[in-house]
Assembly symmetry: C2
């Protein structure tokens, strides 16, 4: 099977590529080739038993998507996006990358006249306040950002192109992925990872919201697991609604800090400085806190068990234990 | 006030223009000019006290929207669309007119750097089976057609452009408008009007579904009333979610036929021939039947009282009484 990862240079793309390289198979089939596409060259995983093509380009430029699907990869992961903070600051870029890029990909697949499984990463940003305590699967889209708007529009196109038989798509609404490794990005949710990542690396971290702020999170390991599970889903089980809210952990900032103290010690947890920032607090107040992701659970998606394990996984995967 | 109706040649656009010509004012302000835009020249209402410009063109062509908003009309009604049956048959045309056309309009307004009230006609086609008996305002979008997908994507853009302050938009989800005057169009819902309109005109009509099929309808008079009420809504009352399901009548085909017999006589009602068509029956089975449009009612939108009145209004407005 030929596999294409668009956005293969991002941190989830990299982890997904490493997992594919490690396993050598996907959906029970040997991987014949993996293509990693991104705006800059993606790092290839080491020790893969199959060839890896690294392609660079901008999916929103005419012809780029056609070039990528010319070889008819049977499985496509589309992770490329401008993140929430950047899409809010740069309105045109957000629509160009997040909406037009995805549309070009769908049109290119339709034009190539074959029906690959497409796993598209949407986001819980398609929901915003007001919402019930635990958002059910049939709750309406309540968008408070351009990023969320673009992801929701993409979900609708993935549904429609799938219904028409032009692609076999699944959109997974990822929780905030935490602990995100590497440097901070422009996502306004960055501090959720920062308050764990920086103290573990021996650095101070600023927490701009209070301990009682609740949010919906999944570890990078879980996110990669969701992508692979989505790749293997039976289309007959999906029906017309192909956007699925992923399971996650509903946890407060205070519970995160307590977990860090349990796993890494009180000294590490004390590196977090509580410095409320009204600007960030207001943004976060509009974010979803909890879901009832019944459909994902019925379809076999599995979330993290607790946040202590999420921290331990970060230590094992990113800090060499 | 300058008013622009895009899709001014359609039957709702025509009725809206006639109503504006009759009243001479909108939102309490005198109408200085009315522009009717459509793909073919729209008929001007007679006896208007203000000048009427009739413009022709394709909103999905680059530059057309910019041309239309160059004069900065303070109130824009956007009714132009490819209907459901045609959008399903011609996938590219549906996306071009229904998605790109609306996006061009929003971008043109943003570029013109002023903030008009935009009333966009969406549709109950953003909902499809499965759904609860009466669809609540917070129910998720369940699209079963390309037309519904495009309207839902437009709603999301209207929300986002409004949130950013680029436009002051309201999307109203119209029920199936019945009794639609004139010739049948390519909408799959056409028979709902046909079984009333044709018998009243002395002709036979075919009803392709059984008497117990239930649907959500509003008269043309109500539809025009919704447009004008939406034009006058206070943006502060709308919040971030600017798409509103309109009130309507939830009524069965049998009840429609009984109403026709009451208003026009048994002989007229007998001109309806029941000829079940499995193809149409299957499409209609996916359509919404009933809503709980609490938000619209709180915002002061008023539906028809009963279907007898809907028929009487059709006789008065279209058949010269």
């Amino acid at each position: 099977m030929d596999v294409l990862i668009i956005g293969g240079g991002g941190f989830i793309g990299r982890k997904l590529a490493e997992r594919l390289a490690c396993e050598g198979t996907v959906n029970g089939a040997s991987i014949a080739k993996l293509t990693l596409h991104d705006i800059v060259p993606a790092a290839s995983p080491r020790d893969a038993a199959f060839p890896i093509d690294v392609e660079t380009g901008d999916l929103s430029v005419a012809g780029e998507a056609d070039r990528l699907v010319a070889g008819k990869p049977e499985l496509i992961f589309h992770l490329a996006a401008v993140v929430s903070g950047e899409a809010e600051q740069n309105f045109d870029k957000g629509y160009r990358i997040n909406l037009d890029g995805t549309r070009h990909l769908l049109e290119a697949v339709r034009e190539a006249d074959y029906v690959p499984r497409l796993v598209f990463t949407s986001s819980i940003a398609v929901f915003g306040a007001p919402f019930p305590d635990a958002i059910p699967d049939d709750y309406h889209l309540t968008l408070l950002t351009s990023y969320g708007t673009q992801k929701a529009m993409d979900e609708l196109m993935v549904n429609d192109f799938s219904r028409k038989g032009f692609v076999d798509g699944v959109s997974i609404r990822l929780p905030t992925v935490c602990v995100r490794p590497g440097k901070p990005n422009k996502a306004a949710s960055g501090f959720f990872s920062g308050i764990i990542r920086e103290p573990l690396a021996g650095e101070e971290a600023v927490c701009p919201v209070s301990r009682d702020v609740r949010h919906w999170m999944a570890s990078p390991r879980s996110a990669v697991g969701f992508l692979l599970h989505a790749a293997a889903l039976d289309a007959a089980e999906l029906g017309a609604q192909r956007a699925i809210t992923m399971p996650g952990l509903s946890i407060t900032v205070g519970e995160m800090i307590d977990a860090l103290a349990r796993v890494a010690g009180e000294d590490v947890a004390r590196r977090i400085k509580m410095q409320p920032d009204p600007f960030i607090e207001e943004i976060v107040a509009g974010w979803p806190r909890n879901f009832a992701p019944d459909r994902a659970q019925r379809l076999g998606f599995a979330a993290d068990v607790d946040f202590d394990d999420v921290i331990r996984a970060h230590i094992a995967d990113e800090l060499d234990g």
